[in-house]
Amino acid sequence: MGVDIDKLRGAININQETLAKIVNLIKQVGIYESFKALMKQEFFRNAVKKKLSELYQALVDKYDIVAHNLRETTTEDRKCRLTVEITIPDRELRKEFVDRLRKTVKQVFESDFSLIPSLLREFEIEGVSCKEEGENVYVVVVGNEKLSEVVLNLKGGGELGKEGGESRKGG
């Protein structure tokens, strides 16, 4: 099932007056603090997560992603290292994904928008790297703990809760 990109983009089209008010406030409190305030509200949190989930589904469909997972570690210099492991069995699709991701990341960094420097500063982003190992692609982003907090917050992630019910019968 595909995803309507235009619809996704349209989702940030709030009326101009409200947007101006929100933007004015965001500039006073910073991107990170504003994000936290936004995510505190279930209504927005769910909407953002739903959009991300649709985006992910679009990627799964396009590249036949079999599995993914996110790992967070701390580097020696107390930076946060986020590693996304993505399994794409098809070699051609995997290559295409790696290449397109490179172009996208480069395009974002090299864009003329001065917000990107602000984001780099606020999240102390050191770099993005991507490595192919067998069927897996490892995408690594190194930034500060704010970045890690934002990503983990968006991801949600559940703890291993109670084991419900009995084990599955049969193989």
């Binding site: 595909g2 990109i5 235009d6 619809k7 983009r9 349209g10 989702a11 940030i12 089209n13 709030i14 101009q16 947007l19 008010k21 004015n24 406030l25 965001i26 500039k27 006073q28 603090e33 305030a37 936004l38 209504f43 739903k50 985006l55 990627l59 799964v60 992603i65 079999v66 599995a67 997972n69 996110l70 570690t73 290292r81 790696v98 991701l101 990341v105 480069k106 395009q107 974002v108 960094f109 928008f113 001065s114 420097p117 602000s118 500063r121 050191e126 770099g127 790297s129 991507c130 192919e132 992630g157 291993l160 109670k162 084991e163 419900g164 019910g165 009995e166 084990s167 599955r168 019968k169």
Partner: protein
Amino acid sequence: MLFKKDREREVVVEEEGREIEPVIPEDLTVRVRFRPNTTIGWKNATDVEPPLELVSELFFGDNPKQAEKELINWFKEEYGGGIWRIELLNEHGKTVRSRTLKIQDADITYGVNKWIVYVKGESGKWYKADVEFAHYPTPTEVIDAIGGGGRVRLVGYDERGRIMTSKMMDLGAPIPDWVKEKEDSFEKKITDLLKQKLVEQQEQMIKKLAGNEKKDEDLDNSLNKLIKELEELAESHKLKVVENLVNSLKGEDEKKEKPSLVDVLFVEPYKAKLESVNLLIKKFAERGDIETARQLISEIPDGTGALVNLINAGASLTEALARAISGVSSNRGLKSKLRRAAGRESIDIKEIKEQKRELEKEHEKGEEGTKEEEEEQVAEEREEVGEIKVEETVEDSGWEIKPVLEEG
């Protein structure tokens, strides 16, 4: 089991006419121990024998840091992540020297003798699948074995049944039927109803955001809440700044050693330009006119332009992502709306500057000889942002992009 140095390696080696002495003394042996995390005790890794030349270099060489890096890579490749400890023992079995290597960016596989799979149901509960792997399974193996996908957790146990590691995985296949059957309960029905409600709310919101003029109370309430939340945050920030300022004024003699308001608020390029505003604020605060000081603080140009650019960058990023996913052509409509928002912001800046000038003039009447030069400086304030240079490394197996920020 401990392993002694390879005798052959102890032989003096001739290299370009230079003698290299063996570095690990003969009476020492090397022991390797392992634990997956700090909550589990050390276990002798008797079957793990790291290259002796690296161990020698680590303890006795000129470049132990490099040896440590190479050893970490070796452990990663051969035995996976976790906490590894290399010890040198004397003839009495006492540890003479040791070094611990923490490897967090690789999966823990050593010491795990079975992997159990748990599947997360839609309700959020975890269900144990009736499958077991002796090796770390690939996603395809897991999907085949459990009869589906979704969010799963692989838990690795050692021979004593202790959890050594666990790893989440999102599998691109539907949740297995057997999990759905287990979830088909009253609780599940309630959850479904709640989810349905949420989906309806979100659909309404999307309609609204996409330009539907119809009023939506939920959205309005949420936006109002968000605005209130941000206003509170902004207010608390301002109060904190004024409080800091008043405190710094109390200790006037020590102020050179303490960070000034400008130091606290701004990065280097802004400081000179904002010095004048700072002086005005101090003046009002000194006179006890906290409200005016607060007003001035709120008028300090602290990134309006950057925020406008944030919106533009958001659009750019979304477009880039969209292109990455489906290659659709760019949507100019959204950008133009955002630019309109940007225009509005620049008008706001002008308005603020005008108000500020008026305010300062008013106060200047009562305050002879106030700083005209400073006022001019403030009027010239502009947003300044850094420039990014991209360092890119591309290899067959991948790539790396490092943004280097050059301050504007």
